[in-house]
Amino acid sequence: MRFLPVGRRALLVELNDQQAVLGLYAEILRRREAGWPAAPTDVVPGATTVLLDGLEDPAGAASDIRGWPPVPPPPPSEASVEIPATYDGPDLEEVARRWGMTKREAVATHVATPFQVAFCGFSPGFAYLAGLPRHLAVPRRESPRPSVPAGSVALAGGYAAVYPRSSPGGWQLIGRTSLAVWDPARDPAPLLSPGTRVRFVEAGT
């Protein structure tokens, strides 16, 4: 665990892997709820980091965290969000080729993968889903599309995602869902937040 400075009111904790990130994230939220005096106002997980923002005393917070007993891995959440997807994305063929599979096999692989939200960023409700084995990581497209439809099911790096709204995007599009993963008028607005477990199912099956 490394502690890095982020100005006068924030702190970045660098960890070994995504499970350690989710574990620390859950522990900070738990302790904040329990009244931790040095608690941050925002806790933002990243790929291998947790950012604590809105700290009165970053050094004190770091010292507290250093003193916590080793954080257990996060318990598997009871619920899993199921995302129905139609696998007709323009990049599905390319992804299957990279994976050395037929399109059917690629879809079956995606549907069989247990995903978990590693972190959110890029736009409200955009959740980076971890779970694909490393060898199935695909690069972003050479040139991003100026407009990716809302609900697009996508892959880039080692992550999967669903675009919460239409935006420019460089990820590989393998399908689409009509499920609104983000709706600011709904309570809760997000369906996917850090730690949420996710499975894709082929729509109509």
């Binding site: 100005g7 947790v50 960023g121 736009s123």
Partner: protein, 310 residues
Amino acid sequence: MRGDAPGLLVLRAGSLTTVQDAGRRGMAHLGVPPSGALDPPAWRLANRLVGNTEGAAALETTVTGVALQALRACTLAVTGAVAPASVDGRPAAWGVPLRLGPGQVLDVGPATAGVRCYVAVSGGVAVEPVLGSRSTDLLSGLGPPPLRDGDSIPIGLSGGPVPAVDFAPYAPPPAALDLSLHPGPRMDWLSAGGLRTLAAGTWRVATASNRIGLRLDGPALERAGEGELASEGIVGGALQVPPDGLPLVFLADHPTTGGYPVVGVVDPAGVAACGQARPGTPVCFRLRRAGPLVGRPVSWEPGLCEAGER
């Protein structure tokens, strides 16, 4: 704009006028930018001048101002960028409460110093909040859209008493930015030469600057090596170094995560000044030491810091 109690009619929306308040806090983990007024002291002052609580939503204009017609009696005030104001064509003072009767028109002209004016109205701008805030977020699209000609802006019931002030002293935006910069998480991504440039260089605010970030033209900051950074959380005021080496200071509508190194963080006073910096404004950085972090002083090379800094 929805609302039950029309208060202001937009006669001239200006180049970019948005509703702003304190923004959306506590949701960065969902990818929601904080948003909110870019110059919080100016925004809070405008609210106080019209008898509102400091956190009421107001209008934030960009360079060319705005023209509003009162649909009922109300009090307005203009702060932030220095700009000529008039009521029904007669010059009105900047930085004081202006009482308007129904039908009267407040026109805020082009800024002569600074970029963004804050126009507060008694009762506050009362559009529907989204995720607890009325702020327009230009990165994510949350909140109300920017003002258009002909929009009707709802305002709340009048707030508190309007203060009896002749003039609220307020320093106009400076002609050059001298930004205090505290250590960031990836300062070791700059080479020694890059750090020296950061400490001693001068940039100019680029025209591509906006509510998301202040872009700078000038010397590129040299990196220590190749490599990519995995996405990590970003704070307001973060100074990020993209591949082209030109520093970018993140402002209110900043993305919540990013994969380019953040080498320092501008303090809140500096961030507010960035919100008023016109393109072409010279910018330099003063590197500040941070306090000990877990028993180890975290700092730039001493030679780069201001002498006597704590």
